[in-house]
């Protein structure tokens, strides 16, 4: 139980329960570290990590970079926008060039699903997937489950509903895998056009009425309406989406229990979630962000310890 079963973190699909437990236990210790006045440990002083982002990101990139720096790793950043990728360089060439400069680990975000898996088969380096298209976003799912565990004591047996655009969401898919491994019950809720057809094959139920879904759940994970990915019209108007699938204070007050509200960020205030919910005590959105650093430190630490 003392080592991860994988050499890369490409998706939750490739992890087992023991891996997640190990990551959570390790993250507990890093959470204590990042709450000290000196938030840094010297563990990874001989490791260099490249953050390669082919897609925009604020939170994830910052969170990874902070995690790396708090472990004392050397960090190089690379954004596709200002790079030779624009000149036509291939992904493998780009990464191999970076690795020739003695980089030990690559954190990559890429718009194509499976980009991390492809890379892990072709380059010698430990790869962490920081989001690959609509496929997986494993560290987000880990920090979401970790935040549920922190707030509710455990994930097992809890009812979790994921609300919004399930079709385009890597957060949803990774969350489903992680929550299933940890023994939670999962439903998804959203416009039928944004629920993938295969969802039943994952053992996930669909609920199209938000109020029923909220009444059932202990935790509601509100996904962002990803306007940049919605190439055609999946719902008539944003206003109609908000009326049917947006969560607000009134809706929560009508429930006979107090549920926990999550959001992976960035929030469209007033669309999928209103400000009075996002900023309330029921919301653990900022805890998610804090836990993100601890979880990423744990993942990096555990993978780096396997680099020989």
């Amino acid at each position: 139980m003392s080592t991860l079963s994988v050499d890369h973190l490409l998706g939750i699909k490739y992890l087992n329960r023991k891996d997640i437990d190990l990551i959570f236990e390790t993250a507990d210790h890093f959470k204590e570290v990042i709450n000290r006045s000196i938030k840094k440990v010297p563990t990874l002083r001989d490791i260099t990590i490249a953050n390669i982002f082919f897609e925009n990101s604020t939170r994830t990139k910052l969170s990874f970079e902070l995690a790396e720096k708090r472990l004392s790793a050397d960090v190089v950043n690379f954004s596709a926008g200002q790079s030779s990728v624009k000149k036509g360089e291939t992904l493998i060439d780009t990464v191999n060039n970076i690795l020739s400069m003695k980089v030990d680990m690559v954190v990559m975000r890429h718009p194509n699903p499976g980009a991390g898996i492809f890379l892990s088969n072709h380059v010698k380096s430990s790869i962490i997937n920081a989001g690959d298209g609509a496929h997986e976003h494993p560290t987000q799912a880990l920090l979401d489950s970790y935040s549920i565990r922190e707030r509710l004591g455990s994930v097992s047996g809890k009812n979790v509903v994921i609300v919004g655009d399930i079709l385009h969401s890597r957060v949803a898919l990774s969350n489903i895998f992680a929550l299933q491994l940890l023994g939670a019950n999962i439903k998804v809720c959203g416009p039928k056009t944004l629920i993938p057809k295969y969802i039943a094959s994952l053992g996930v139920e669909v609920e199209t009425n938000l109020k029923n879904a909220l009444q059932w759940c202990d935790v509601a994970n509100m996904l962002r309406v990803q306007n940049e990915r919605l190439d055609v019209s999946y719902f008539p108007t944003t206003r109609e989406y908000t009326q049917q699938f947006g969560v607000n204070k009134k809706l929560l007050q009508e429930l006979d229990k107090e549920i926990v509200v999550m959001h992976p960020g960035p929030i469209n205030r007033g669309v999928e979630i209103t400000s009075d919910v996002a900023d309330s005590g029921q919301s653990i959105i900022l805890n998610q962000v804090e836990n993100g650093v601890a979880i990423r430190m744990a993942v990096i630490y555990l993978l780096a310890s396997k680099i020989k």
Binding site: T26, H29, R36, I38, V41, L71, L302, A304, S305, K306
Partner: protein, 180 residues
Amino acid sequence: MTQRILLSAKEIDIILHRLACQLQENHLDFSNTVLIGIQPRGIFLAERLTRMLQKEYKVKDVKLGSLDITFYRDDFRRGDKTLQANTTKINFLVENKKVVFIDDVLYTGRSIRAALTAIQSFGRPQEIELLTLIDRRFSRHLPIQPNYRGRQVDAINNERVSVLWKENDGEDAVYIEERL
């Protein structure tokens, strides 16, 4: 595996009393002193000494913390196993305090080197002392010596000294075992 007993429960009890007295001699009412048990095995000794100081030597307030050194060790990535961390619990400032590190066995000194680095994250202590139940002589890799020692032993490298505690292992005893 051959095993012989180094200290019995009775001997450990006598030694703990002596160590408690020595600590008290140097730190009196412990108003400016904090005890830090080194994880994972030093915490049992630290807790035992703290209880003894409070109950039998009537020291009112003994501050006790536990320090995990995993992320400060110098053998990261050098073995096959991932080093697994333990809980650090220090609910007080060590700034300008006298710190006493407590560990069960002092061997190469590398753990204590890591602890010296780790404690810096909690402030700048006035001074740091080291208390250890077993001091394995002639096996140090670093210039580190204890201020308080229970028993000094000569053990060769393929021997292992294990300290057992009633609350964790069912008995108080120190064994020396030959590793095959």
